[in-house]
Structures are given as structure tokens and as C-alpha cells.
């Protein structure tokens, strides 16, 4: 085995490059995740309350499920600014970064999946639960809050953790619109040094460390909120 190319990783500049890339990846992830979970929950509320026709939310979900994520990112970064009015377009060019559009695309995409997971979690709670809560005099909202949703979230937890993992991995697509995240800097290093193997080994290990951490947190949370049916 020829491992001398690994020496490039000893360079402090390279380490700094990967550190910056990792931080950008984590920023992308946390910004998108917070927005995605909030929006996902909102979509469920919209769908169940009938504020919008459920077909509208359904179309939103189907678009994000059936169009490749990279296309969604390009649509937001290259496509959407062009159809905005000129003054907005100028504003967008001047003030909104690739990072911003990446977060928009990633969070909308994840929100679509999260809303479906939450919705099936809610549907999995037996109707007798809502009935028992209402029979005690709880309002619909109180019954949802204390009885239905608190069970649905526990039931949907494995799927919700999966969405977080998926989102973390999908942030790597932001390299395509020039966000200097982990894969972007890896390609940059490869291009500059031809140390191809360490260039991609490093992000592999960093992504793994992040996803394994997420999984550990997820199973920790699930264990502490477990109940026996």
C-alpha cells in the first residue's frame, strides 16, 4: 500500500481548510434542520386543519419527494431569482448567498419528508386515545398536545432521526452551487494537490463521525422516552 499521500493531512493549512468546511457543513445542517422540523410540523397542522386544500400540501410533498435534491437546489439558486421582479433580483444577487439558497432548498426538501413521518405517526395513534382524552373534558388542542402528538413523536422518532441523517448527507450537494462546505473543500484540495485519497477519506470520516453522533443522540432520546404498550 502506498500511503505517503496521507502526509498532506499533516499540513496545518489543510487541517484549517477541513475545519472550515466542516463548520460550514454543520451550519448548513443545523440551519436547515431547525427550519425543516418547524416547517414539517407546520405542514402537518395545515394539512389536518384544512386551512389549505390538502392537495396543496400533497403537491408540495410530492414535488420534494420526486425531484432529485440537486435539481431542487439549482431551481432555488439559479431559477427562482430569475423570475423575481428586477428589484428583488438585484437584492438577491447582492445580499443572498449560495448558503442561503442551499438552506432554503434543503429545509423545504427535508420538511416534506418530516411532515409525512409526523403525519403517519399521528395516524398510528389509536382513535381511542383521542376519544379518552376528549371524554375527560380536554379540548381538541389539549388532547393533541398531551395525548396524541406526544405519542406520535415517540412513534415517529426513528424516522425523524433518519431524516436528520439524510439531511446531513444531502448538505454535500451544496458544493454544486459553490457553498464552501466539506465536499467543496475536499474537491478543492484534490484539485490543488492531487492527493485524491486523503482528500476524500477525510470527509468520509468526518461525515461518519457526525452521523454516528446523531444516531447516538437519537437512540439516547428514544430510550429515555420509551414506554411499553
Amino acid at each position: 500500500m502506498n500511503l505517503h499521500s496521507l502526509a498532506v493531512l499533516a499540513d496545518p493549512n489543510v487541517q484549517l481548510l477541513f475545519l472550515r468546511g466542516t463548520l460550514t457543513t454543520l451550519e448548513l445542517f443545523f440551519a436547515s434542520a431547525i427550519a425543516a422540523y418547524a416547517l414539517g410540523a407546520l405542514l402537518v397542522v395545515i394539512r389536518m386543519s384544512g386551512w389549505l386544500p390538502s392537495a396543496a400540501v400533497g403537491a408540495f410533498v410530492e414535488y420534494h419527494r420526486n425531484v432529485p435534491s440537486i435539481v431542487q437546489i439549482f431551481v432555488w439558486y439559479f431559477g427562482v431569482p430569475q423570475i423575481l421582479p428586477q428589484s428583488w433580483h438585484t437584492y438577491a444577487n447582492a445580499h443572498l448567498s449560495a448558503f442561503f439558497f442551499a438552506v432554503v432548498a434543503l429545509s423545504l426538501n427535508a420538511a416534506a419528508y418530516i411532515s409525512e413521518d409526523l403525519r403517519s405517526g399521528i395516524r398510528a395513534v389509536p382513535t381511542g386515545q383521542m376519544e379518552a382524552a376528549r371524554a375527560l373534558g380536554m379540548s381538541y388542542l389539549k388532547a393533541m398536545r398531551w395525548v396524541v402528538v406526544s405519542q406520535a413523536v415517540r412513534g415517529a422518532a426513528p424516522a425523524l432521526v433518519n431524516q436528520a441523517l439524510g439531511l446531513l448527507k444531502t448538505t454535500s450537494l451544496a458544493l454544486a452551487i459553490g457553498v464552501k462546505e466539506l465536499m467543496y473543500v475536499a474537491r478543492q484540495l484534490d484539485g490543488e494537490t492531487y492527493a485524491t485519497f486523503p482528500s476524500y477519506l477525510t470527509p468520509t470520516l468526518i461525515y461518519l463521525a457526525c452521523t454516528l453522533t446523531l444516531m447516538a443522540i437519537g437512540s439516547r432520546v428514544q430510550q429515555s422516552t420509551r414506554f411499553t404498550r
Binding site: 389509536p126 381511542g128 386515545q129 376519544e131 379518552a132 382524552a133 376528549r134 371524554a135 375527560l136 373534558g137 380536554m138 379540548s139 389539549k142 398531551w146 395525548v147 406526544s150 405519542q151 415517540r154 422516552t225 414506554f227 411499553t228 404498550r229
Partner: protein
């Protein structure tokens, strides 16, 4: 205390309740029995508006149950309801099940609500299981917790919808024991049940219902000794056969 006046209900063209009339006085225990599919459960569920009605009136205390101007939540918080399938909240411990509604609906302080919850669990013989989750309890224990949960709102009326039908035979007794205790404490109760022993020992009146109609409303001793309506005679004979 509870009054049904010409209560009717249809599912489409199928009439499930047919001009039901009847009164339950304060402190009375009424057992509703009849063949399956006769509308017993539907009838008891109309009392706290878990089921709507198409015609007639139901009065609980002073309140018209179907008066849309009255808060259904307030109505329901004054009527304890016990389900056939218990419907305990599986993510909450026994004492949390009991304390949840007093805290979230009545705004009781947590300390007060839990003191009361433990008192009620003690009353149903389950103080030692206060921290157990429903999944760790037997059917009979779950149903007793469910009774404590319903009692936590201090309802003047308790409704039981086949409370022992989902239980293994050896657990029926412990639930009936709790219900008997409630009855002797003077609780106003309507029970849909197949437990004819309970009807005989505890009920003030038996309502026999078939095809959505109350065919007989009488004392348990008369009902079992001399049922008048042919359907009731057949029902009593079928029970005797066991």
C-alpha cells in the same frame, strides 16, 4: 339526574336508537343490557356527546347535552366515562394518567393533582402501581386505573361501556368490586354490561334494549324473574342456559 327524551339516532337509513325515553335518578345505578348490536354502547355514548343524536333531548343535571352553546368540554369533565378497551395513555404512568386531566383541564396544582391521584389509585387498590406504565399492568389493573382516571375529575355521574368485556375471566371480579364500591358510595352510574350478577346485586334498574329500543325498564329481580317482552324473555333464557 340523567334524562332521555325521545332520543333517536340514524346511521343513514339505519335507525340505531328508537325513541329512547328514561330517567336515572341521583345515586341510582342503571344497567343497560341487551343483545350485541342493539345500540347499548351508542346510547351510553350519547350521554357525553361522544355520539350525536338526530332527534330528542338528553339532559344531564341541568344541562342539555346537545346544546351547541354549552361547552362540550365542560359537560364531559363532569361525566366519568370508562371504555371497554380502557384507553389508558400508554406514554404516561398510572398516576400521570390519573392526574393529567385535573392538571390540564381544571388547572389543578401538580402537587394537589398527584396527591389526589394517589388517593384514587389507593381507592381502586393500585397505589403500589402508581409509577407503572399501562403496558406493565394486567387488563384488570388497567381498567381500575381507567376508573381512577375518570374519578379524578370528581364527576357526579359515571358511565361504563362494557368495562369487563375485554378482560380475562379471572380479572372481571376485581373491576366489578371497584364498581360495587362506587355504587355503595352513592355514585350515579349507567353501566352497559353483560355481567348479570352485577346487575342483580347492584343495579336499581335494568334497561333491556334491542334494535335501538328500550323494551323493558324494571328492577333487576323482576327482569330476571318475570321478563315481559318476548325478546327479554329469550335474552334471560339464553343467559340462564350458561
Amino acid at each position: 339526574m340523567i334524562e332521555f327524551i325521545n332520543v333517536s339516532k340514524w346511521y343513514g337509513s339505519h335507525r340505531v336508537l328508537h325513541d329512547v325515553n328514561g330517567r336515572v335518578e341521583r345515586g341510582e345505578v342503571v344497567v343497560i343490557c341487551g343483545p350485541s348490536g342493539s345500540g347499548k354502547s351508542t346510547l351510553i355514548r350519547t350521554v357525553n356527546r361522544l355520539e350525536s343524536i338526530n332527534n330528542g333531548q338528553i339532559i344531564v343535571g341541568e344541562t342539555d347535552v346537545n346544546d351547541r352553546k354549552k361547552s362540550v368540554n365542560r359537560l364531559r369533565s363532569g361525566i366519568g366515562f370508562v371504555f371497554q378497551q380502557f384507553n389508558l395513555f400508554p406514554h404516561l404512568s398510572a398516576k400521570d394518567n390519573v392526574a393529567l386531566a385535573p392538571i390540564t383541564v381544571r388547572g389543578l396544582k401538580k402537587g394537589e393533582a398527584y396527591d389526589r391521584a394517589l388517593e384514587l389509585l389507593d381507592k381502586v387498590g393500585l397505589k403500589s402501581k402508581a409509577d407503572a406504565f399501562p403496558g406493565q399492568l394486567s387488563g384488570g389493573q388497567q381498567q381500575r386505573v381507567a376508573i381512577a382516571r375518570a374519578l379524578a375529575m370528581n364527576p357526579p355521574v359515571m358511565l361504563f361501556d362494557e368495562p369487563t368485556s375485554a378482560l380475562d375471566p379471572e380479572m372481571v371480579g376485581e373491576v366489578l368490586q371497584v364498581m360495587k364500591q362506587l355504587a355503595s358510595d352513592g355514585m350515579t352510574m349507567i353501566c352497559v354490561t353483560h355481567e348479570m350478577g352485577f346487575a342483580r346485586d347492584v343495579a336499581n334498574r335494568v334497561w333491556f334494549i334491542a334494535d335501538g329500543e328500550v323494551l323493558e325498564s324494571t328492577t333487576p329481580s323482576e327482569f330476571f324473574a318475570t321478563p315481559r317482552h318476548p325478546r327479554a324473555q329469550k335474552f334471560v333464557a339464553d343467559i340462564r342456559a350458561h
